[in-house]
């Protein structure tokens, strides 16, 4: 009970940490969406040598992102950015790492959505004289995003669940906030329970949205 009192005392700080978690995840998912869309557009190229090379690189990138731990990816990006001489804050490199990771997953999600668009539509649009970028922007992608919207929300949940790993870079999101308060107050378990409950509320709430989106589709 003593622990609960301590946790309640620091509620404003904890909620601020939660705000940061949501902010980091939102920024990461928006950038990831751009990366994912870009990757899937680049993947559509024809069979010429340059586009085959690009496709090969993207394939390797996605495979690496999906088959290595996010924690290792965060460390690699953080160190790589430093070696490249970019003096970015931990926050920025954290967001970059999360978006590069999630971008690989989103590219795969969009690829799944693309297969659902009948080929006749792009052919019809091309027959009407629409340019390729216009076909993608006006015909294909609006439908694709509608189809994959439940998966994109699920990916947002994933990003939120991955975001505690940013605490290793000393980014003060929810988990790091809890760790700081723990070293201050010597109360451990109640803080971890509190943040687990907060994460649960956010993720379970988003899961309900996924269900609604699936029903609508």
């Amino acid at each position: 009970m003593e622990g609960l009192k301590t946790v309640l005392e620091y509620t404003p700080l904890i909620l601020k940490g939660l705000g940061y978690t949501v902010l980091v995840s939102a920024e990461a998912i928006v950038i990831a969406l751009i990366i994912g869309t870009l990757l899937s557009v680049l993947r559509m190229g024809g069979n010429s040598l340059p586009s085959r090379i690009v496709k090969g690189i993207i394939k390797v990138y996605i495979s690496f992102v999906r088959d290595t731990p996010v924690l290792v990816q965060i460390y690699i990006i953080y160190q790589a950015l430093a070696v490249m001489g970019l003096n970015l804050s931990a926050y920025v490199s954290g967001v970059i790492a999360l978006s590069l990771n999630s971008g690989g997953f989103i590219a795969e999600i969009i690829r799944g959505g693309l297969t659902a668009i009948p080929k006749g539509q792009t052919e019809a649009a091309a027959a009407l004289g629409m340019s390729k970028p216009k076909i993608l922007a006006r015909i294909v992608f609006p439908q694709v995003f509608k189809i994959v919207s439940p998966q994109l929300t699920s990916e947002f949940i994933n990003v939120i669940k991955v975001s505690p790993m940013l605490s290793v870079l000393a980014i003060v999101e929810l988990t790091r906030t809890a760790q700081r308060l723990i070293t201050q107050t010597y109360v451990t378990l109640p803080f971890y329970i509190a943040i687990a409950v907060l994460y649960f509320i956010v993720c379970a709430g988003l899961e309900e949205i996924v269900k609604l989106q699936k029903k609508k589709a």
Binding site: D67, T68, V72, Y75, I76, T175, A196, F200
Partner: protein, 219 residues
Amino acid sequence: MNDFIHVASISLPMLLQGLSLTVEISVLSIIFAFIGGLLVGYMCISPNKLVEGIARVFIKIFRCTPFMVQVYLAYYGLPSLGINVSAFGTGVLILSLYTSAYAAVILESGVKAIPKGQYEAAAALGMPRLKILCRIILPQTIRMIVPSLTGQFVQTVKDSSILSIITVAEMTMMTKEAIGITFSPLFVYICAGVLYWALNLVIEFISGRIEKKYNRVRI
């Protein structure tokens, strides 16, 4: 170049030592999670609403909180419950529970994809419920869910890296130690990344083989 060879000669043995523990943790967790997943999945399709409810709550809790927070909770929570396990034991336990929640959902969706007529036919022949599941439903389900189950097990290998925060000396932890000696973080982290990658590619390769084999039998 000489620098890299020097760093590699120090760090690679450490990373490989960590890799062996990563493999050990992953294999144990995957086995336990598969058993746990079967159990929880079985509870999910139970006619008893209370049993089903318990399983649903279990799944919801483990799927809707970050694994890292679960690891911390287990590490600090178990001793205060009077359960004293090593960091390794805690890690395997929490990773198994976490993965079994996902495995249960995959198994359940597979079971639901089997036509209902098969249950009814088996029941009409007088087979008991458990026998219907084990002999008729499960063999077909497993065949169907090999790809999603593989994806989950790759996830398990990746998640095992988080156990480095509770002092389990798996590959990520050993990477940090190697960096402490060699002072070349980027190179050693990339080596670790490549090793994880290779491990998961092997898992995917094996799974692809299993899939092919089952598909051949089907024809």
